[in-house]
């Protein structure tokens, strides 16, 4: 009976209920849509800058991240690799040997970042082949290198030319070598393009006099949400007196901060939107309560307990809000799904600036049930706060006064 009365009460003033439901539905769909775009952009940014470059988790020698010197590298052993691969959800590893060297050609010299990679595995992750603008990609047995296009431009070097590298090898040995340029790659991150040199891992180990040595082991897995748990599990399995697994959030705290500050500004905007909804919902609940105080008084006088009246009022508030949420979610879902598979492609100057950051100029939405659940939670919370008004009004109701209305 309570539910029946609540349902019919909602439709006593059809227009008002529909306006409130529409307000909630519109806001929820907007909120789901906005948040899905926002989180989708972050995911894309992380995928581009982290997933496709540093990886979500790396394993290093325990002091490496504090002092990124080749002297803090690791002698790779089968047992270390097997320990990493035996961790739940880990699909593979990419070995890297990274350090610095002076790169010289003719009269030009510049500091360069040398990255020794396993060519096949490295390409699968970094997608270097597709970024080569001149020449070819390296193979395991090559004694040649690939150079960033901006660095090549600075050094005035071309494919088949020889580049001289001068640096410091493992434990202070000098590292000197001359390598033929096999290809020129255009890296999307400009700062990287200005200094990157890729070479086969074995060649880098030879150059730095660090046989079997690497500086980073990139851990590959498919679900980036598992980053923290995999890092934790790796650290529990590894000999932490020698090694340390580190998550991308700790490797790139500036990106985490950038995302967090942007996320907060988005949530602040949503907060304003929800404030407007809250006032709308509260206005409706207030009117529904005020205009029915006499009716409440009659029901109490003929024998209805206040708790039952409160239950009816609770049903009214919850039904109205849930109805709005359901309609809003039903509007948002097709849009979110569409823009997930067909993201907005940015063009012009905006696209160029985004590309400079090494991020694809596309804005996809993310498919996340959590975003929808959060909106449901917010609307239910607004309903519960709004419900305080009828709750107190019914409890404090003076039957005699209300009957005179």
């Amino acid at each position: 009976m309570n539910l029946r009365i609540a349902w019919r009460n909602l439709w006593r003033n059809r227009k008002r209920t529909l306006i409130t439901v529409s307000l909630i539905a519109l806001s929820v769909s907007l909120a789901v849509f906005m948040r899905s775009f926002q989180e989708g952009s972050y995911a894309k940014m992380i995928e581009n800058a982290i997933g496709n470059f540093t990886g979500y988790v790396q394993v290093h020698q325990k002091d490496y991240w504090g002092d990124r010197s080749i002297d803090n590298g690791i002698d790779v052993s089968d047992s270390l690799i097997n320990t990493i691969l035996s961790t739940k959800d880990v699909e593979g590893v990419n070995l890297r040997l990274e350090s610095f060297a002076l790169a010289s050609h003719n009269v030009s010299t510049k500091g360069a970042l040398i990255m020794g990679i396993v060519p096949k595995a490295g390409d699968e992750m970094l997608n270097i082949k597709s970024k080569i603008i001149k020449g070819d990609y390296i193979t395991d047995s090559d004694k040649s290198i690939i150079i960033g296009s901006k660095l090549a431009n600075f050094l005035d070097i071309d494919v088949s030319d020889t580049l001289v590298l001068l640096g410091q090898g493992h434990w202070g040995q000098s590292a000197v070598g001359a390598y033929s340029v096999k290809g020129i790659v255009k890296m999307p991150i400009a700062t990287l393009d200005r200094r990157i040199i890729f070479m086969p891992l074995s060649l880098a180990q030879e150059y730095y006099s660090f046989p079997d040595g690497v500086t980073s082991i990139v851990v590959r897995f498919s679900d980036s949400n598992e980053t923290r748990s995999i890092t934790k599990e790796l650290n529990s399995k590894l000999d932490t007196t020698m090694y340390r697994a580190i998550a991308w959030q700790d490797m790139s705290p500036e990106m985490v901060q950038q995302i967090e500050s942007d996320r907060i500004s988005g949530i602040f905007m949503l907060g304003i939107l929800y404030m407007i909804i809250a006032f709308g919902v509260f206005g409706t609940v207030l009117m529904m309560t005020e205009e029915r105080k006499k009716e409440y008084a009659v029901m109490i006088s003929i024998g209805m307990q206040k708790t039952k009246l409160i239950t009816i009022s609770f049903y009214e508030t919850i039904i109205m809000n849930l109805f709005g949420v359901i309609v809003g979610v039903l509007i948002a879902i097709p849009l979110v799904v569409y823009f997930h598979y067909y993201p907005i492609v940015m063009t012009g100057q905006a696209a160029k600036s985004i590309e400079k950051l090494g991020i694809e100029p596309v804005m996809p939405t993310i498919l996340s049930s959590q975003i929808i659940l959060n909106q449901v939670f917010v609307i239910i919370s607004i309903s519960l706060v709004a419900f305080i008004y009828p709750l107190t009004a019914i409890f404090k109701l003076n039957v005699i006064k209300a009957m005179k209305r």
Partner: protein, 228 residues
């Protein structure tokens, strides 16, 4: 005796002037009475009725119903007491607009968790008695004033309360509807021995009452039994 008031007072002090709406009333009502409480506007009729129904608390004195001093009941207990013992008929009908005539009439029985079969048969019996058969599924807004008041009477009678308090039940009705409603209430009063107490200044009700109590300034100035 089902209702007894002893030295009943109700004083309002909300304004600067103290208003003694009920000023020392001692009365008793027996089972099956058909009583009118009359008097000019502001004489305390409605306040007295509210005190009898436990809708308002006396400033002093007591109201006991079947030996229960209702002022000793908590608010929750009082609501349950009203549910099981008292029926109300209001001047403005006060039906629940979202419920049909039948749902309104069986509302109290539903609150009492009476079985569906009992509710169905009681409502059918009452709707026949009050002459609104066929209107069961119509909402109050589409019924005439007289029909709404009949539904209100059915609602009050449905659970067979000990007594019914009716505050100006005929004030909004024309002569024909009033006469019909009074006939119905009188008939049910006789058949079911339910006590009716009216607060009214409608001569048509007073003429049908078996006892007429006149109030003035919150006091009983006359109490005439066998008035009809």
């Amino acid at each position: 005796m089902i209702i007894e008031t002893k030295n009943l007072h109700k004083t309002y002090t909300e304004t600067e002037v103290e208003v003694k709406a009920v000023n020392g009333i001692d009365l008793s009502f027996e089972e099956g009475e058909f009583t009118a409480i009359v008097g000019p506007s502001g004489c305390g009729k409605t306040t007295f009725l509210n005190l009898l129904g436990g809708l308002d608390a006396p400033t002093s004195g007591s109201v006991s119903i079947d030996g229960t001093d209702i002022s000793s009941l908590t608010s929750k207990q009082m609501i349950d007491f009203r549910l099981n013992n008292i029926g109300f008929v209001f001047q403005a009908y006060n039906l629940i607009p979202v419920l049909t005539a039948k749902e309104n009439a069986e509302f109290i029985m539903q609150l009492q968790n009476r079985p569906k079969e009992e509710r169905e048969s009681r409502i059918a019996e009452l709707f026949k008695a009050i002459g609104i058969e066929g209107k069961e599924n119509i909402k109050p807004g589409r019924l005439s004033g007289g029909q709404q008041q009949r539904v209100a009477v059915a609602r009050a009678l449905a659970s067979k309360p000990k007594f019914i308090l009716a505050d100006e039940p005929t004030a909004n009705l024309d002569s024909k509807a009033t006469a019909e409603l009074l006939d119905i209430m009188h008939e049910l009063n006789r058949q079911e021995r339910i006590t009716f107490i009216f607060a009214t200044h409608d001569k048509r009700v007073i003429d049908r009452a078996e006892r007429v109590i006149t109030l003035e300034d919150g006091k009983v100035v006359s109490d005439i039994a066998g008035a009809q």
